[in-house]
Amino acid sequence: MKADQEKLLNSYADRLPLSVLDEVRENVPATINKEKLQGVLDKCLIAYNNAKVHPGECVGLVAAESIGEPGTQMTLNTFHLAGVAEVQVTTGLPRIIEVFDARKAIKTPMMEIYLNKPYSTDVEKLRKFAATIKETKFEEFVSEYNLNIFEQTLTIKLNDELLKDNDLDIKDIHKIIKPKVKAFTIAIKDELIVFGLKGKQDEIKDLYTLKEKIKDVKIKGIKGLVQVLPVKRGEEYVVLTAGSNLKDVLALSEVDSTRTISNDIHEIYKVLGIEAARQGIIDEVYKVVESQGLNVNIRHVMLVADLMVANGTVKGVTRYGVVSEKASVLARASFETPLKHLFNAALEGEVDNLTSVVENVMINQPVPIGTGLPGLITKMK
């Protein structure tokens, strides 16, 4: 494209978004003359301005209704396929509520781990990798506990087959366990791990608590990933996990850190930042909406997501989150726990300027939306 045309194109930069300009640049023939390009750009400008939301348009309420109404049609039950290896996932309305409420502990945390080249195609390597990241606890290797009251020892027999499967032997286990149980003696005797008390007598209870404690000791893998499931996605393989630990997984060299993602919004926020969390909210909600075969414009979801992350942290659409930041006392009081809001407002001497919708409906004044938004000024002569 000639310099003239390029100049013309750039002169629209303040009126058209970059993505539109890029699209024009790609789609017009390189030989286009200046007048025609001008025409194309003017048409684009008109279309772009027409597509803009009008001032006074009630976007929030429309978004709420547009998500809420299809929500009533969502099926609460999820489908299960008998015999197929799958990870249990929360979907449907419960999942949407979970995301919009920005719950700290979600019901089914999950990760989709994309892998770098050799691992994403080689099934053997993939399987090995999957096995290494799965969190395995000491408890799983144990075949027998034996609490001997007379000798004051706890003997533990391990499952040899499982050990072999995981490329471990009793010495490895011993090595991992040892630093965790400093208050006790630990020894290997006839393929058994034997714990004993250090000096003290009559403290058999301690051995019992020890037994419960070491059950949870992580032997290998990444903390939190309780289930791993390699799945084929198009040409490559990805690993789905139940449980989520974005930080540790992204640190692994085998992992493609540009695509790997968790479904825990708070974890995304902590590891990848607020913009990623916003995208996470949109993706997670839209995934549910699509899986239910509903038709909700993604802009509605984007608006809600924007609202939730507006002040740099993730806030749920609850009385503790987004709603608590409403400017109007009356609006907050009309949502949930009215007394609490009224008392706090009274303590602070809060002033309600009646600038939003709900409070104006309450006092029966025109709501500042649509035709109620503009004010008229007369020019006096």
């Binding site: 008392f343 919708v357 309450m362 029966n364 025109p366 709501v367 649509g370």
Partner: protein
């Protein structure tokens, strides 16, 4: 070896379980044990349970021995001739009642052809899986079960001939269908339940077709000519009651025409229907506001002794009159005493209900619909054989609901009407479709039940042949006349000054939360305000303290309860409900100050 329990009490053990159980059963059948004894062997718990106490649901089954039913042709013949009865069958050990537990040990065949040596019992009829109301649906086994349930529920709401002594009864909310008929397509249950003594519908000519859009979305179209001739016409009865209550001090209500100087006297016009005893005369046509039973009550509070002279002047008027929108004819007057010994006057009002737009009709297959139009008999479509439908049903109601029984009843009814006989549509035991269709062919009609139709308005032949026949249709009790209501102005609630709710209180229709959202989403801000203006109020507000001030129009002065008289007061328009909220907030010891600012 198994433990034996009688009525959940341990009594002992038995060695040979099967022998023991069979023995008990045999003794019951022979009559040496009571007929209501049931025995059940619980294999898992290894317990034998004998039950003969009350409260067990039991059902009769025919006993089967060596793969053969004990009920023989001979029994049936004897039953038909009246030589034996049901009780004899039980006594002979042909039929026995099983409870839920003993059923666990039984293998029951649905029909006789299914019997094998393993079977222990045979159903009396396969239709016994359904209850009475469900068994009243003809060809029910051709339907989805959910439609069957809806169909049997609808029948309970049908108008009919509910009791032969209706004219001397004082039922609340009673309806009588004028020309109720026995269904042409019946089931055996109709005979068993004496349905012909209390039928609840009429056999109508039904065409399955469209007629403009008037039967879309579950509508039905009625033939005005048929309605004028009395189709589905009914009468609605409703009692009006007045009791002579007794009060302390020997004071008592009095049913009479109120004296002119009674407190709250209406106008003479309102009492015009009352006879000397204060009760309306039969066959008087009453409408809204007319007094049906005249009554006066003693004053509510007796302050001083001199009021004991009880002149009429201090009595209260407490007559019973017709409320908003009510009308009728005084049908029947009934004077009696109630449980407390007070005189009770009841007047039954009657009103004829001619089918109109909005009345609900249904077939017996869960195919209910609301009347969309009454078509003049001149405009109604007619068939080449001269058949004119009474009711037009929409074809779109069939495809998604899959009520095959609806279609079968239509041909069945057609055959029954033409051949002059009743058609049997008993559950699992109905006349076969092929027989019905071939009989229809023999009667000179197309075997598929369709006929060539002509449009009544243009006289042109219709492109499609129309499926037409005879069906038993029910008029349901949801009549528009009982539900219709409108309001422009009317009563308001005392507390909120908002309109009352509900038909009885002449209430408004609420513009609710979600409707409000619609106005907002459209940006129709001022329209929304107008809609919510029902409790609008102009309140004087004190500029200084921001609380609601007082305007004393009588003394023509305005003042603030906080700041006194010498203060600027402005009027603010708001909803009364908001004023109430401010008051309630003040009751929480919170000071809701209104900061006034000029709007412009």
């Amino acid at each position: 070896m198994a433990d034996v329990y009688i009525n959940s009490n341990f009594v002992g053990t038995v060695e040979d379980i099967t022998h023991f159980v069979d023995n008990v059963k045999d003794m019951r059948r022979k009559g040496s044990l009571p007929e209501e004894t049931n025995i059940y062997y619980d294999e898992k718990a290894n317990e034998v349970k004998i039950m003969c106490d009350e409260g067990r649901a039991r059902r009769p089954l025919i006993i089967v021995k060596e793969g053969r039913s004990l009920l023989t042709e001979k029994h049936l013949k004897q039953l038909e001739d009246g030589e034996i009865t049901w009780a004899d069958l039980i006594r002979q050990g042909v039929v026995e009642y099983l409870d839920a537990a003993e059923e666990e040990n039984a293998l029951v065949a649905y029909i006789e052809d299914e019997l094998t040596p393993e079977h222990t019992h045979l159903e009396i009829t396969p239709g016994s899986i359904s209850g009475i109301a469900t068994a009243l649906v003809p060809f029910g086994n051709f339907n989805q079960s959910s439609r069957l349930i809806i169909g049997s529920k609808n029948q309970k709401q049908a108008l009919g001939f509910y009791a032969a002594n209706y004219h001397i009864r004082m039922d609340m909310d009673a309806n009588i269908l004028h020309y109720s008929q026995f269904p042409i397509v019946k089931t055996k249950l109709h005979d068993v339940t004496n349905y012909n003594e209390h039928p609840s519908g009429q056999n109508m000519i039904v065409a399955i077709m469209c007629y403009d859009g008037y039967n879309m979305e579950d509508g039905v179209i009625l033939n005005k000519g048929s309605v004028d001739r009395g189709l589905a016409r009914s009468t609605y009865f409703r009692p009006v009651k007045a009791e002579e209550l007794r009060y302390s001090g020997g004071l008592v209500d009095e049913v009479s025409i109120p004296d002119k100087d009674v407190k709250g006297y209406r106008s003479e016009q309102d009492y015009r229907f009352l006879e000397g005893d204060g009760i309306i005369y039969p066959e008087a046509k009453v409408a809204e506001g007319d007094v049906v039973i005249g009554r006066t009550s003693p004053p509510r509070f007796l302050s001083s002794l001199d009021e004991y002279n009880l002149s009429a002047a201090i009595r209260r008027e407490s007559s019973v009159s017709l409320k908003h929108g009510e009308r009728g004819v005084a049908d029947f007057v009934f004077i009696t005493e109630n449980e407390e010994g007070n005189r009770l006057v009841q007047v039954r009002l009657r009103e004829e209900r001619i089918p109109e737009i909005g009345d609900k009709f249904t077939s017996r297959h869960g195919q209910k619909g609301v009347t969309g139009i009454l078509v003049k008999s001149a405009d109604i479509p007619f068939s080449s054989s001269g058949i004119v439908p009474d009711l037009i049903f929409t074809p779109h109601g069939i495809s998604s609901r899959m009520t095959i029984s609806h279609l079968l009843e239509l041909v069945g009814g057609k055959v029954g009407a033409l051949a002059g006989r009743l058609v049997d549509g008993t559950l699992f035991d109905a006349e076969s479709e092929e027989n019905i269709r071939s009989e229809l062919l023999d009667l000179g009609f197309r075997s598929d039940g369709t006929e060539v139709f002509y449009d009544g308005r243009t006289g042109k032949q219709m492109l499609a042949k129309i499926y037409v026949g005879n069906m038993y249709y029910l008029r349901l009790r949801h009549l528009v006349a009982n539900k219709m209501q409108s309001r422009a102005r009317g009563p308001i609630q005392l507390l909120t000054r908002q309109p009352t709710e509900g038909k009885a209180k002449e209430g408004g229709l609420r513009l609710g939360e979600m409707e409000k959202d619609v106005f907002i989403a459209h940006g129709a801000s001022l329209l929304l305000k107008e809609r919510f203006d029902s409790d609008k109020i102009n309140l004087p507000v004190c500029e200084k303290c921001g609380l609601v001030a007082v305007e004393d129009q009588y003394k023509n002065r305005k003042y603030c309860l906080m700041c006194g008289e010498d203060i600027e007061i402005n009027y603010v328009e708001m909803s009364y409900a908001f004023k109430l909220l401010l008051d309630e907030i003040r009751s929480l010891c919170i000071y809701p100050k209104i900061n006034l600012k000029n709007k412009y």
